[in-house]
Symmetry: C2
Subunit: 283 residues, 2 copies
């Protein structure tokens, strides 16, 4: 029965405090703790972090120690003072300079998803997303909240790509896609999955199809168009003509839309796909 040592009571507290753990991670990313420690030539004490980040002393001490308890930082005590450095987790996945950094996705989650999830009970009651309550935009116009500033748009577009730096190769290798010379990645954003694809399948060409704003950003921020094997095409995949292809990829796309809209999109792809219908939907 009920006691502070009870396993169920422990689990309950872990669940209930889960949002605090998320926020410690998000806040340390947002404030640049992991970037600072990645660039510092040696471990830093709290005062040095405060001086460089311009944060409060007390708040920073608490944040650093909480990060250490979560294994997001390593702490070493010398002469009665604590010195902090990144762990393998934070140097690999959290510092801005790492090729597999997940920082943009975490910041997007902190600023957008966390706020919507504050209204989960209402979402279950009504059966719809809570962008109206969280951001004042109608639920079907969620992207106007997600793209509410140029900074947020860039963060989201980059964030969506970050997962592929860790998981893209495994996902694409799970199927043999070598039989498809022409591939179209619908809603493929900055082209990170497309890049993994042309690297894994040397014979294919990939067209990334996305909205004009996303394509513009992708072209600005991604200089390398791999020897003509990777191209971008802009439009609205619900209305505009789709690029011809032997295989269509929908990676983390369908979950954004109602069943009706998804059904319409899949029918459009079916009509365009040649020679047979090949759609890989990763949602």
């Amino acid at each position: 029965m009920a006691s502070p040592q009870d396993h169920a009571y422990h689990l309950l507290n872990e669940y209930s405090n889960g949002f605090m753990v998320s926020q410690v991670l998000f806040a340390a990313c947002e404030l640049g703790v992991f970037d600072l420690l990645a660039e510092a030539p040696e471990p830093l004490d709290s005062a040095a972090v405060v001086a460089r980040l311009g944060t409060s002393s007390h708040g920073t001490e608490l944040l650093l120690d909480t990060c250490a308890s979560l294994k997001l930082l390593k702490v070493e005590v010398r002469g009665g003072k604590a010195f902090y450095q990144n762990t393998e987790l934070s140097s690999t996945y959290l510092s801005r300079g790492s090729p597999v950094s997940q920082r943009n996705m975490l910041l997007y989650t902190a600023r957008t998803t966390y706020r919507c999830w504050g209204h989960l009970a209402e979402a279950v009651r009504e059966g719809k997303n809570q962008y109206l309550q969280a951001f004042g935009v109608p639920s079907e116009e969620l992207f106007s909240a997600i793209y509410r500033s140029e900074g947020e748009r860039l963060r989201f577009t980059r964030g969506l790509q970050e997962v592929w730096s860790v998981c893209g190769r495994s996902v694409l290798a799970a199927f043999d896609l070598s039989q498809f010379p022409l591939i179209c990645d619908l809603g493929g954003g900055g082209g990170a999955l497309a890049r993994e694809c042309v690297s894994l399948y040397p014979a294919c060409k990939v067209t990334v199809f996305d909205t004009p704003q996303v394509v513009r950003l992708a072209k600005e921020h991604c200089s390398l168009l791999e020897e003509g094997r990777l191209g971008f095409c802009e439009g609205d995949f619900f209305k505009d003509p789709l690029p011809e292809a032997d295989l269509y990829i929908l990676a983390r796309i369908l979950h954004d839309w109602t069943d009706d809209k998804c059904s319409g999109l899949l029918q459009r792809i079916r009509r365009t796909c040649k020679p047979a219908e090949h759609v890989v939907a990763l949602t």
Copy 2:
């Protein structure tokens, strides 16, 4: 190095998704899922839950299955249909009728703490709480946000008490308090810890000191004044005379205030305490 199977990557995702786990727990409490299942004579399917709670079908299905995956519910499939019932965790700690229910505290956390923690990065930057950003009240007036409606005040006051139904006895038994005939619980709310105290130490009398509003609620909602051994006294512990006592308890009180305010309070107690200074601060 980075891979989807990497332990560090797994931990990162667990941290990043922690707020979703919290919100699933909070939403299911808020909507009354655990209360309904506790009162139902047999496991219910999703349609029955929808009919009783007036929630959306799709949202409810997702919520019930997520609760099952978190072991907050048990699921049993009969004739192709899933039927849900409480686990020991949810019937013990989450259903309204359980004597050790933590429901009010969870709802307070969901409605107040979760919102403030959405501004953690700013809190660390500024070194102060974020009631202004979350609720529009100055940081030193946090209680006007916490008590923003009669319902919220009741939820918070009850919620604070709930922890003692699980942990109170262990905390009070950690010290031998039998030498103190007169005890004062400062900020003791509804008197739950005081009740554990008079039950554990048969010779003592306990006075609960709290604000007029809290004392009024405590008297309305807690009928049993254990044979004259438990009393309530109202006032502001920073200004008004404190009840005389041999021992003062400050349980989860000091963390709400600045060091200066805490120091002033402890000095006031020292002047009142007889015959020696006995303060147990549980923060």
